[in-house]
C-alpha cells in the first residue's frame, strides 16, 4: 500500500514538473509576439504598440498581438533579447533591434531577410538611404525597417556665450575654433565647465560614441575600414583625437576627472549641468530634450531659448565639414516565426507614415522618412529637431560587429588613461591597438601610422 502511494506521488510530481517545462506561449502562428524596450524615459515603443494592437488585430482576424515590453537599460535589453532568442519557443516574431547588432544577429540566424518584402512595399522609397544601409548586414540582405535614428553634435548655452563675448549663432569651423571658444569661456566666465567631451569607462558607450569616435571620425581615419574589412589601429587620427582629449582635460577646459568618471555623469549633464547653466558647450546627442519637454524627468521650459546647436566640425574643417554618428533601431522579423506574413504586416503597420511620426515624437527620434521630415507636425514642440535631422545626411554608423562592444570597452579604458594622465596619448593608442589586435585577431587589424 505504502509503495503504491509512493508511486502515485512520484508520478504526480514528475508529471507536474514536466508540464511546467512545456511551452505556455503559443507558437502556432495565431499569436504574433513583439519584444521591445521600455525603460525610464523611453516609453515610445510601448505607446506605439499599444496604439496599434487593436488596429492590427482588427485587420488580421484570428491573429492576436502579444506585447512583450522588456524593462531594462539598453545593454540589459539586448542581453534579455539574446537569451529569449536562444530558444525557438521564446523567440519573438518581431523585435525592436539595434542597428548595431544586425550583422551579428544575422550571423546568429536570428533574423529573417526582408529584401523581397521591402521591394514590394511602396513606403520603402520614403526612407533615407543612410538609414536603409543601417539595416543591411555584411551578407547584403536587409534585416529590418528603421524606426528613426539619433544624431550627435554640439549644444551650447547662449547666456554663458553672451557673458564670454561669443556669438549666439556660433558655428565652429574646426577643432581649434572649439578649443578657442572653451578657453575664452574659461577666462571670462569662471565657475562653469567650458566644454564637456565624454571620456573614461564610467559613462560607458557615451564615452566611445559621443566622445572619442566623434573626434576620430572628424580626422582622416576611421575605426573600421569597410573596403578592406579591417579595424584601423593605431592611426594618426587616433593620436590626434587622444591629444584633443588631453588638451581639454589638462587645461581644465572640461569636467574634473571625478565628474567625468562617475557612471552617472551623462545623466547629470542632461538633468543638471546644462539646465542649471553650469556647462557651456556639450558634445552630446539629439535626444537630450526628451528629459526637458513637459513631462520629462527634468522639465525645463526655457531650454530652447537658452540652448543653441552647432554641428561638430571636422579636425581642420576638411570636407564635409561636419561630423555626426548615429545609432538607431529597426523593427526586425524573427527567423523562426511561424507566421512571417502576419509579422511583416505588423512591421508595415508600425512603420507607416502616421505611426512613424507618432513614434518619432514620443521617442524623441530623428526622422528617417522624407514624408515625415517635411510634415509640420514633426518639428512642432522641438525647435532643434530640424537641425538634428539635417545631420542625417552626414551621419555615420559604428562598425556593427559583435566584437565592437569589447573594442569599445578598450577605447573607454584608453581615453580614461589619457584624461587621468596615466598614459601619454601615443602610448594609449599603441596599447589600444594591441588590445584591438587581440580581440579582433591580428589579421583583421591594419595600422596607418
Amino acid at each position: 500500500m505504502r509503495r503504491q502511494w509512493a508511486l502515485v506521488m512520484t508520478a504526480v510530481t514528475v508529471a507536474a514538473g514536466l508540464s511546467a517545462c512545456g511551452d505556455s506561449g503559443s507558437s502556432d502562428g495565431k499569436t504574433i509576439k513583439v519584444a521591445y524596450q521600455k525603460f525610464g524615459n523611453f516609453i515610445g515603443a510601448d505607446e506605439l504598440f499599444k496604439k496599434i494592437k487593436p488596429v492590427f488585430e482588427q485587420q488580421n482576424p484570428g491573429v492576436k498581438l502579444k506585447l512583450i515590453p522588456i524593462e531594462a537599460d539598453e545593454n540589459s535589453y539586448y542581453t534579455k533579447l539574446g537569451l529569449m532568442r536562444r530558444s525557438k519557443s521564446t523567440a519573438p516574431d518581431v523585435a525592436y533591434e539595434d542597428t548595431f547588432f544586425v550583422n551579428s544577429d544575422a550571423q546568429a540566424r536570428f533574423l529573417m531577410p526582408l529584401d523581397d518584402k521591402l521591394a514590394s512595399w511602396p513606403d520603402w522609397s520614403q526612407f533615407v538611404a543612410a538609414s536603409k544601409a543601417a539595416g543591411k548586414a555584411g551578407d547584403g540582405h536587409t534585416y529590418g525597417v528603421p524606426m528613426g535614428t539619433d544624431t550627435r553634435g554640439l549644444w551650447f548655452n547662449k547666456k554663458i556665450f553672451a557673458k564670454a563675448g561669443l556669438p549666439a549663432d556660433w558655428q565652429p569651423k574646426n577643432w581649434n575654433d572649439l578649443l578657442t571658444a572653451a578657453r575664452q569661456i574659461k577666462a571670462k566666465v569662471p565657475g562653469v565647465i567650458p566644454l564637456n567631451v565624454y571620456a573614461g569607462k564610467g559613462v560607458g558607450e557615451a564615452s566611445s560614441m559621443q566622445g572619442f569616435e566623434m573626434l576620430l571620425y572628424g580626422t582622416a581615419d576611421k575605426l573600421y575600414d569597410d573596403q578592406t574589412k579591417k579595424w584601423v589601429a593605431p592611426s594618426r587620427g587616433m593620436n590626434d583625437a587622444m591629444n584633443f582629449l588631453k588638451t581639454v582635460y589638462s587645461e581644465k577646459l572640461g569636467p574634473t576627472q571625478q565628474q567625468a568618471l562617475d557612471p552617472h555623469w551623462s545623466d547629470n549633464v542632461a538633468a543638471q549641468e546644462l539646465p542649471q547653466g553650469k556647462l557651456a558647450i556639450a558634445l552630446d546627442g539629439s535626444w537630450l530634450p526628451q528629459g526637458w519637454i513637459p513631462g520629462g524627468v527634468s522639465a525645463w521650459p526655457d531650454w530652447s531659448k537658452t540652448l543653441g546647436t552647432a554641428p561638430m566640425p571636422t579636425q581642420n574643417g576638411q570636407a564635409p565639414g561636419k561630423v555626426s554618428l548615429s545609432g538607431g533601431w529597426l523593427l526586425s522579423v524573427g527567423a523562426n516565426t511561424k507566421n512571417p506574413d502576419a509579422a511583416w504586416k505588423l512591421v508595415q503597420l508600425a512603420m507607416n507614415k502616421e505611426n512613424s511620426l507618432f513614434f518619432y515624437i514620443k521617442g524623441t527620434q530623428v526622422s528617417v522618412r522624407n514624408d515625415v521630415t517635411s510634415d509640420p507636425e514633426y518639428v512642432k514642440g522641438n525647435p532643434t529637431q530640424q537641425f538634428w535631422t539635417s545631420l542625417v545626411q552626414y551621419t555615420q554608423y559604428r562598425p556593427a560587429y559583435s566584437v565592437y562592444p569589447q573594442i569599445s570597452n578598450q577605447l573607454q579604458a584608453a581615453t580614461e588613461a589619457v584624461v587621468t594622465g596615466q598614459s601619454a596619448p601615443d602610448k594609449a593608442v599603441n596599447d589600444l591597438a594591441g588590445q584591438i589586435k587581440q580581440l579582433a585577431g591580428p589579421d583583421k587589424v591594419e595600422g596607418t601610422s
Binding site: 514538473g17 550571423q107 546568429a108 564610467g202 562617475d262 569589447q406
Partner: protein
C-alpha cells in the same frame, strides 16, 4: 545526506532475505526520486551545462550563437593570460578576506561576546539593529550605502556640518567602501551563530577556571574559543561562500569601478557573459569561481578536522 546508523539488532531487514531487502530499499528510495529529479533538473543540469559551455565559444549573438564549437581549453588559457582576470581574482580574495573572514567573523564574535550576560533590553536593542541590516534586501543595502557615501551623500553632509571636507568616498577608496558595506550587512549572521554557540559553553567550566585564577583573556583563549571551534569553522565556510557570490551590493555601489578597482569575479563574469555576450568565457569564469569556493571549503574542512 545524513545517514542514520541504527544498531544492527534493531534492523528488521537484517533478518530478511536479500531480495526482500532490495525491495525494501527500493521502497525507501522511490519517494526520493522526485526530489532527485528536481535537483538534477534545476541544479545539476545548469551546472553541467555550465561546465560544457565553458569548453565552447557559445555567445549571445554572432555566428557562434546558433552553432557553437568545442574549443577545448581555449577559454581557460585566455583567462590565465588575461591581466583583468588576475586582478579580479585578487580583488575577490581581498574582498572575501577583508569583509568576511576578518570583518564579519571578528565583528560577529565581538558582538556576541559583548552581548553575552548583558541586560535583556540592551541585547534586544543591539540585536534588532544588527539583524535589521541583515534582513534588508541586498539591493536596498547597496543603495543605502551608495546614498551614504556618494558625493552629496549623508556622510559628506555630516562632515561638512562639523566643518570638515568630504571626499568622493566611492572614487577615492572604492574597495574599502564595499568591504565596509558588506561587513555592515553580513555581521548579524556571524553574531547569531556565535551567540548560539556561546550559550553552549558550560558556565561551570568558566567559573572553575576563574576560581583557578585564569584571566578573562585566558578563559576566552583556552576554554571558550576551543569549545566553539566547530561553530567558527561552519560560520567561516558559510560566510565565505556567501561573500564570494556577492554581486548586487558591489554592482549597485560602484558597478565594478571606478575603472576596474572593484571588479570582483562575479562582476567580471557578468560583464563577460552579458555585456560582451561571451557566454562560454563567462561560464569558464563561473567554473573558476566554483573552484575558488572549493579551495576555501577544503581549507576550512581540514582545519575543522584537526583536533586540539
Amino acid at each position: 545526506m545524513v545517514a542514520v546508523d541504527l544498531p544492527e539488532s534493531t534492523r528488521p531487514a537484517a533478518r530478511r532475505s536479500p531480495a526482500a531487502r532490495g525491495r525494501r530499499a527500493a521502497g525507501r528510495i522511490l519517494p526520493l526520486v522526485p526530489a532527485f529529479a528536481l535537483i538534477a533538473l534545476f541544479f545539476l543540469g545548469p551546472i553541467l551545462w555550465c561546465v560544457y559551455a565553458s569548453f565552447t565559444d557559445v555567445a549571445l549573438t554572432g555566428a557562434t550563437a546558433s552553432t557553437p564549437h568545442l574549443i577545448g581549453l581555449r577559454n581557460y588559457r585566455r583567462m590565465f593570460a588575461d591581466p583583468a582576470f588576475g586582478q579580479s581574482l585578487w580583488l575577490t580574495v581581498v574582498f572575501v578576506v577583508g569583509s568576511a573572514v576578518i570583518g564579519q567573523n571578528v565583528g560577529g564574535m565581538a558582538l556576541a561576546l559583548l552581548m553575552k550576560s548583558r541586560h535583556r533590553i540592551a541585547r534586544a536593542v543591539v540585536g534588532a539593529i544588527v539583524v535589521g541590516a541583515w534582513v534588508m534586501p541586498e539591493l536596498v543595502a547597496g543603495f543605502v550605502w551608495y546614498a551614504f557615501l556618494a558625493d552629496d551623500g549623508t556622510l559628506n553632509a555630516i562632515l561638512r556640518a562639523v566643518g570638515l571636507h568630504g571626499k568622493s568616498w566611492l572614487y577615492v577608496m572604492p574597495l574599502l567602501s564595499v568591504i565596509i558595506a558588506n561587513v555592515w550587512r553580513g555581521t548579524a549572521f556571524s553574531m547569531l551563530v556565535y551567540s548560539a554557540a556561546l550559550s553552549n559553553v558550560p558556565e561551570d567550566l568558566l567559573e572553575a577556571a576563574a576560581v583557578d585564577g585564569a584571566s578573562a583573556y585566558r578563559r576566552l583563549r583556552h576554554i571558550t574559543l576551543p569549545l566553539m571551534r566547530r561553530a567558527v569553522m561552519t560560520n567561516l565556510m558559510t560566510i565565505t561562500l556567501q561573500t564570494l557570490a556577492v554581486f548586487t551590493l558591489i554592482f549597485v555601489m560602484t558597478g565594478g569601478g571606478p575603472g576596474t578597482k572593484t571588479q570582483t569575479l562575479p562582476i567580471y563574469m557578468y560583464q563577460s557573459a552579458f555585456k560582451f555576450y561571451q557566454l562560454g568565457y563567462g561560464a569558464a569564469l563561473a567554473i573558476v569561481l566554483l573552484a575558488v569556493g572549493g579551495v576555501f571549503s577544503v581549507i576550512y574542512l581540514r582545519m575543522m578536522r584537526e583536533e586540539i
